[in-house]
């Protein structure tokens, strides 16, 4: 079976498993304890923060470890909101862990604006600019779309921000970007950035929020005051160690080139059939959205699953009917119904991908015959 749903989650690097064992069974001490074993672990956590900052390419700011991206996104939005005459601006392409928080803000009476996507999955920059004002408190966008792979030009958004609302906080959900593409956090002056370990071969249940200036944040949970008071709860040392272990193994540039080749191979194989339409977005090579005319994407996924595992879109929202993101790109209903998402990791081989492409082609042909 060939796994091509790496945007949902990636297999953990086996080499990093030992970190989980080591920091759960041997060096398991509570990093907030006052004795030296605990304090050593506290220092270890700080070292991991520095490693993360280096990988993020940032010079200043702080890392707050969380239980994953959902918690980090919640903290980024709810932790930066303030009472008063403020406005919050999001793109329509956001992951549910941002979008649903935004909707919740709106339900509570806050002024929230959603910016539409273009047909190519990009944030509509003109509309974004028109949505901003001096009252804008937060701009939150996704770096790489988990559905389409479209990459947001965060430097351009920063330019608009500086022009219209220089005080607004800029949050970027970087879950599908971190360890996958070259980041521009520093040059785009991103204030808050979300990442999640299991998307880059780390363990599930660990993530982080980078914040340039902690003063913009307030804690949203209450407890022992860990993570500088912004995220109470005993630090997940073993998970964090495994996360940085995975991160350090990744050569972003080499992986990017490799995945670009893998993607090209798959596109070439699937291009043999004209009724397969690849969604043309400028973005990350890791994610490919495509439609298989005349069949239901879900059915194709289930028919294929013994040979090739592909995804429907965001696994986090597959319990909900419809597809908000493709709909907001003005894609017609029948194309949405026949859409699937294919996502790669850099440790797959060219032969594997070629084989997967042929299996997808033959399965599609078979399904088309059965339903036509």
């Amino acid at each position: 079976m060939i796994y091509l749903d790496n945007a949902a989650t990636t297999p953990m690097f086996r080499d990093c498993l030992s970190e989980i064992e080591k920091y759960s069974c041997e060096n398991f001490y509570n990093a907030s304890a006052i004795y030296s074993k605990g304090f050593e672990n506290f220092k270890l956590l700080d070292e991991q923060r520095e490693k993360l900052k280096k990988k993020l390419g940032v010079k200043q700011g702080e890392i707050i470890f969380t239980s994953g991206a959902t918690e980090a996104n919640n903290l980024a939005i709810l932790g930066t909101m303030r009472n008063g005459d403020n406005e919050y601006v999001f793109s329509m392409g956001e992951h549910p862990s941002v979008y649903n928080v935004a909707r919740n803000l709106e339900e509570k009476g806050n002024k929230v604006k959603f910016v539409s996507l273009t047909e190519k999955g990009q944030v509509n920059y003109a509309e974004l600019e028109a949505s901003l004002s001096e009252k804008t408190r937060l701009i939150s966008v996704m770096y790489v779309s988990n559905e389409t792979g479209a990459k947001t030009d965060i430097k351009r958004i920063n330019d608009i921000r500086k022009r219209v609302c220089p005080k607004a906080i800029f949050h970027v959900d970087g879950v599908q970007a971190f360890c996958k593409i070259e980041l521009e956090i520093e040059s785009a002056e991103v204030d808050v950035f979300t990442l999640s370990a299991h998307k880059f071969h780390g363990p599930k249940g660990v993530g982080a929020l980078y914040v340039r200036d902690k003063k913009v944040l307030k804690n949203i949970n209450f407890g022992g005051g860990q993570e500088f008071g912004y995220r109470s709860g005993t630090e997940n040392l073993s998970g964090i160690m495994a996360m940085t272990c995975a991160m350090e193994k990744i050569d972003v540039k080499a992986n990017y080139d490799k995945v670009k080749t893998l993607r090209q191979i798959l596109v070439e194989v699937l291009s043999q059939d004209d009724s397969i339409k690849i969604l043309d977005v400028e973005g990350s090579p890791y994610i490919l959205s495509m439609s298989f005319s005349g069949v239901n994407g879900e059915t194709l996924i289930r028919m294929l699953e013994n040979d090739v595992v592909i995804g429907l879109g965001s696994a986090c929202s597959s319990k909900k009917a419809g597809n908000r993101i493709l709909e907001s790109m003005s894609i017609d209903k029948s194309t949405i119904k026949s859409s699937v998402r294919i996502s790669f990791n850099a440790y797959q081989t060219e032969d594997e991908i070629k084989d997967a492409g042929e299996k997808i082609l033959s399965c599609y042909k078979d399904l088309k015959r059965r339903v036509s």
């Binding site: 289930r302 059965r370 339903v371």
Partner: protein
């Protein structure tokens, strides 16, 4: 002693068979209270649960309230039927200020030495003297019920907690419920179970056109029904190949009509094999194209020997939803997984099919072979109420 006094309804109508219904009712209560310590006695017209752990009373009431055939549960105090004993208990009753009351004596045991009206008056006076509350015989806030039974015991209680009514489960034959995964079919199953019909379920799935989650959802719905039916056998039939053959060989507007006729044929075969006496569906007249009178006629035409019960035929959707919520199936029913009826859905399904046309369309299929193959691959899942 605190006891639970259980009242049952229509069983009274059953004359010579009454003891059989009572036995079934007691047996169903025992199944529902499996694992609890208690004693269950029958006192002609009432069942009494005694000697239970009082800290678990709410749990016991909750479980017993789901036993079909009962109309009410009363949390009561039990005494020997002696005037003095009853009076001395009533003497301790203190009512909440401002609440009107009445005493209602029911003297089932005619050997009791005082008639109901006279005894009500005496007990009412005792309460009146001890409390600063008004008597209201027509619309009292509090009714002190005094139930004098044949077993020389008297039960005093204030409130009757309403139960589901109906007839004891498994006293009305066995039926096969077509369980799709939507809102209607579990409600139909519940309603027939309430009339004493033992329920088995039949589900058609169309993997890979429908998901494993859709099948799991149906298993969950069947599990939710076990709260009333204790144990359910779920027959699962793969419908994929049949649907593909209909799709390839028949006119698209007849897709659903032919599907339903084949489902009915399969249902009848399963009934015959398993000794089930009826097919039950959640159809409601006019709800969708396949539920018109003509569609039902065409669907029914393939059934040779069994009745098809459609307990929801005259129900509005809102009413069905209301029951679905009451029985705890609604949340599961609305999970957004496609069922096999939505696969290959034609744009314009035929609303007024005829038997002749349906038979003509079916002539392009090798029905016997398709049905036999589907039946051979039947999966049986037994779902316990645990």
């Amino acid at each position: 002693m605190n006891v639970l006094l259980l009242k049952y309804g229509e069983l009274f109508l059953k004359g010579g068979n009454r003891h059989l219904f009572e036995k079934a009712l007691m047996n169903n209560i025992k199944i529902k209270l499996d694992g609890y310590d208690y004693k269950l006695i029958n006192t002609q017209g009432r069942l009494v649960i005694q000697n239970y752990n009082e800290s678990l009373e709410d749990e016991i009431v909750d479980r017993v309230a789901k036993v079909f055939g009962l109309i009410g549960i009363c949390r009561a105090v039990e005494f020997d039927s002696s005037i003095d004993e009853i009076k001395s208990y009533v003497d301790t009753i203190r009512l909440e200020k401002g609440k009107s009351f009445k005493v209602s004596v029911n003297r089932a045991d005619k050997a009791f030495p005082m008639i109901s009206t006279e005894f009500s008056k005496i007990l009412g006076e005792v309460i009146f003297n001890n409390n600063d509350n008004k008597v209201d015989l027509y619309n009292p806030d509090v009714t002190v019920n005094v139930d004098i039974r044949f077993n020389k015991k008297t039960y005093i209680y204030y409130k009757i907690e309403k139960c589901l009514g109906g007839l004891p489960y498994k006293t009305g034959g066995k039926g096969l419920l077509l369980l799709s995964g939507g809102i209607d079919s579990p409600v139909a199953g519940f309603m027939m179970a309430k009339r004493g019909v033992e329920i088995e379920c039949l589900h058609f799935h169309s993997y890979p056109y429908t998901s494993l989650q859709a099948k799991e959802k149906v298993i969950k719905l069947a599990k939710e029904l076990t709260a009333y039916c204790d144990r359910i056998k779920l027959h699962v039939i793969s419908f994929t190949k049949i649907q593909e053959h209909i799709h390839m060989n028949c006119s698209s507007e007849f897709m659903i009509t032919i599907m339903r006729r084949i489902m009915m044929r399969i249902a009848e075969r399963i009934c015959e094999k398993n000794g089930l006496g009826a097919i039950i569906t959640g159809e409601s007249l006019g709800q969708v194209a396949s539920q018109t009178m003509q569609s039902m006629t065409v669907t029914n035409a393939v059934i040779e020997n069994l009745p098809v019960f459609r307990p929801l035929v005259a129900f509005d959707k809102e009413d069905i939803i209301e029951i679905s919520k009451q029985i705890g199936c609604f949340e599961t029913s609305i999970l957004p997984y496609e069922d096999c009826c939505t696969v290959f859905l034609p744009k314009n399904p035929v609303i007024k099919p005829t038997v002749q046309k349906a038979e003509y369309e079916e002539s392009f299929l090798n029905l016997e072979l398709l049905i036999n193959e589907a039946l051979q691959e039947e999966e049986l899942i037994v779902i316990e109420n645990k």
